[in-house]
Amino acid sequence: MISAIIALALLAAFFGLVLGFSAIIFKVEASPVVEQIDKLLPQTQCAQCTYAGCRPYAEAIAEGEAEINMCPPGGQQTIQAIADLLDVEALPLAGGEEAQEEPGPILAIIDEQTCIGCTLCIQACPVDAILGAAKQMHTVIAAECTGCELCVEPCPVDCIDMVGVEENIKTWKWPKPVNHINHPLPLGNFELISEKTAGSF
């Protein structure tokens, strides 16, 4: 009986010492999983996830406070990527039907006739995409705008609109072919899609 206790205690002590030493020898700086999560987020800084920006949301995920499915601009793709990174289950986008992904890229546009130069929208923009100064014309730099819609609220004269970005030949993407025997097309639409097939001898 005593020998059992002594044996176990000795074993535990020995392994404890070994682990203690190796903890010191193999010490590693905390790995920045927050950085990796932040890299996957779309950086619109829109706060739709209820956190102040993408970085705070990444920190919350890393600490386990937030679910990974709270980012509508990222969509299901981002959720899947974060799930793969953290090796957790990929949940569907939170909010159900309402919080669906945006239909396409949108940009803010300021109606210059109405703008009064109050700088409230400049202060609201999280990526400094609005050019202007007090009593000077404000304008949105289209290339920098992430479509987060944070500038629409503060404008006192309601001169900011969100417009969809038109597709052009540079942004157009080939669609995924669906001409498959398991997904028969409604009769008559046959030619429309298969017009685009190559190698169609």
Binding site: P42, Q43, T146, N168, K173, N182, A198, G199, S200
Partner: protein, 607 residues
């Protein structure tokens, strides 16, 4: 198709025997070229309006160089280069610019793009143009200049700006120029006719390219289904064999006209994965491009027209037409009497790599080399795709030695990482795999989808990174602004406090002076103390109570010293009235200047 194929080719008199090689895979679709070879190249007529898209080439679209209302002559520059990879656009005929707006263009997306619209006046008046004075002895750099001026792009279909292709960096030595006369796709015969009728232009253009790149040899690869063109080319190159120019006949396997495949057949050199032919010292140009280079250098003519094959069984007079860019495709089809009732499919390009033409208003651009108006049962759409049976025929036929089956599965599952592992960006979208697939799976469509998804994801990521950088910078800026504000506030506070202290000190001192009773002296010392106090204020921006005492003490010491060594004012006792008044005036003026100085100092401290 997988047996290696090497055979010696016996050539006509004057040519060396050249060994040719083979590439992996390939297919042999029926040629269907005789339809459009029945007569010579015809001249297309000038349409009432010409629509020139600004993006007719790879790289950045050109920027307009004319305004609405401008009158332009044939060959006049209407859009200029924009960026390092771009090309110019010239007016194909004389007329007036009536609009610069978004119009339909020949593109698989059926979207619109910016076009310059010219209303032709029918005169077809050329602008002043002149080729090089001595084209046979033209300098290397000048050739490139002429090519750039003429807005020449690759006319084989890739429309890469040719001037950029002639501007090879000095560390990449080019030893061979390959001229692509293969024209491997069925139906298309524009290069064939060009060679038959204008072989001289092609050869001279090829020689110019060879000279511009300082290449040792120039190989013209032509498929063996063009025997007439081959004979004509042989005759045309008879005098150039010592310059390294050689016409080589290759077997007609699709896609032998692919750049990398042609290089492999002619030289047995494989271009490395995701690399360019310049990496192995070779540059490839199309015969049409070579002819355009000739016209630019010898005659100074910009690229304003091209030969296009109009064929298919729905066309009554199929053939090759030399048409101006900007001609609406419907206008071209009308001129060959195509029958809209009979047309079942309209394709731009060939049957292997072409895409559907949905809007007949779309204009002819530099990349269109053929229109096929097919009737029923000529080029039918394939039946719906069936599940992949993993037979592997696609991998057997792929000319780039890829694994289309694997790429198909991963494109379908949108596993973009794995798809890239299988080298999807080496795919030239030739259509061989779709052609041989027994389940009729549109493989090339899947690969195009995967490629555009990858590019889309990359650009999204870049945008997100930029947004993150800007956001982080904004945070830094806010923190910095806050700190600066706090520092400025502190400075202001300190200056105010110091000024207050100085004022109190001055008051105390002047009171002490008055107590002593020496008015002029006190005034002087008061002024002096003002000056010293001012100097102390301006010198020390940060005051502290500890410093005030030594200042006070020093001032006390100075005062005492002055009191001791003060020179006695000599003429101040018996002053006349006038002199007294003068003195008072000066004193008053001094006092005023002192006050204004003090005020200015206060203002400065308050900023």
């Amino acid at each position: 198709m997988s047996e290696s194929l090497t055979r010696k080719v016996t050539q006509q008199v004057g040519q060396n025997i050249r060994k040719i090689f083979s590439f992996h895979g390939g297919v042999k679709p029926p040629h269907r070229k005789s339809m459009s070879l029945q007569h010579d190249i015809m001249q297309g007529s000038i349409p009432p309006k010409l629509y020139l898209p600004l993006a007719q080439h790879l790289g950045q679209a050109a920027t307009p160089a004319v305004k609405v209302g401008d009158k332009v002559l044939k060959g006049q520059l209407i859009a200029d280069l924009d960026g390092p990879i771009s090309a110019r656009i010239h007016a194909p005929s004389s007329g007036t610019v009536v609009a610069i707006t978004k119009l339909p263009i020949p593109h698989p997306s059926a979207l619109t793009a910016e076009c310059i619209v010219i209303e032709t006046d029918g005169n077809d008046e050329w602008i002043e143009h002149q080729g090089a004075a001595t084209p046979q002895t033209i300098a290397r750099e000048e050739i490139r200049h002429y090519v750039e001026q003429a807005g020449i792009v690759g006319l084989g279909g890739a429309v890469f700006p040719s001037a950029v292709k002639l501007d090879v960096s000095p560390d990449k030595k080019i030893h061979t120029v390959v001229i692509n006369a293969a024209e491997c796709e069925p139906y298309i015969t524009c290069d064939d006719m060009l060679m038959r009728e204008r072989a001289e232009e092609v050869i001279l253009g090829a020689r110019l390219i060879q000279k511009a790149l300082n290449a040792k040899s120039c190989l013209i690869g032509i498929e063996d289904n063009k025997p007439e063109a081959y004979q004509i080319l042989l005759k045309a190159t008879a005098n150039y064999s010592q310059d390294g120019v050689q016409v080589v006949q290759i077997p007609a396997i699709y896609p032998a006209g692919g750049e990398k495949q042609l290089i492999k057949v002619l030289t047995d050199i494989e271009v490395p994965t995701q690399g360019l032919p310049t990496d192995v010292g070779i540059i490839c140009h199309n015969v049409g491009t070579a002819a355009a280079v000739y016209r630019a250098v010898y005659h100074g003519e910009p690229l304003i027209s091209r030969i296009i094959t109009l064929t298919g069984e729905a066309v009554k007079k199929p053939g090759n037409y030399e048409a101006l860019f900007g001609t609406p495709l419907g206008f071209l089809l009308d001129s060959v009497e195509y029958d809209p009732e009979q047309v079942h499919r309209l394709l731009i390009g060939g049957p292997m790599m072409g895409f559907g033409l949905t809007d007949l208003r779309a204009p002819l651009i530099k990349s269109c080399n053929c229109i096929i108006a097919a009737v029923n049962n000529e080029l039918d759409t394939p039946p719906p795709a069936m599940p992949c049976i993993r037979c592997g025929r696609c991998a057997e036929s792929c000319p780039m030695s890829l694994l289309p089956q694997q790429m198909y599965w991963f494109s379908k599952a949108r596993d973009l990482e794995k798809v890239q592992d299988y080298n999807i960006f080496d795919c030239i979208e030739c259509g061989c795999c779709s052609y041989v697939c027994p389940s009729n799976i549109p493989l090339v469509q899947y690969f195009r989808y995967a490629k555009s998804e990858i590019w889309g994801d990359e650009s999204d990521k870049q945008k997100a990174d930029l947004a993150r950088e800007r956001h982080e910078f904004q945070e830094i800026r806010k923190v910095r602004a806050k700190a600066e504000k706090a520092a400025a506030a502190a400075k202001r506070k300190a200056a105010l406090a110091k000024k207050k202290a100085a004022e109190e000190k001055k008051k105390a001192l002047s009171e002490a002076e008055e107590a002593e009773g020496n008015k002029p002296e006190s005034k002087k010392t008061a002024t002096k103390e003002n000056n010293t106090a001012k100097k102390n204020d301006s010198d020390k921006t940060e005051s502290s109570s500890a410093e005030e005492d030594p200042i006070k003490a020093a001032m006390q010491r100075v005062k005492e010293k002055k009191a001791q060594n003060k020179p006695q004012p000599k003429n101040t006792d018996n002053l006349t009235e006038a002199q007294q008044k003068q003195i008072e005036e000066v004193d008053a003026r001094r006092a005023k200047t002192n006050e204004s100085d003090k005020e200015k100092q206060e203002d400065d401290a308050n900023v």
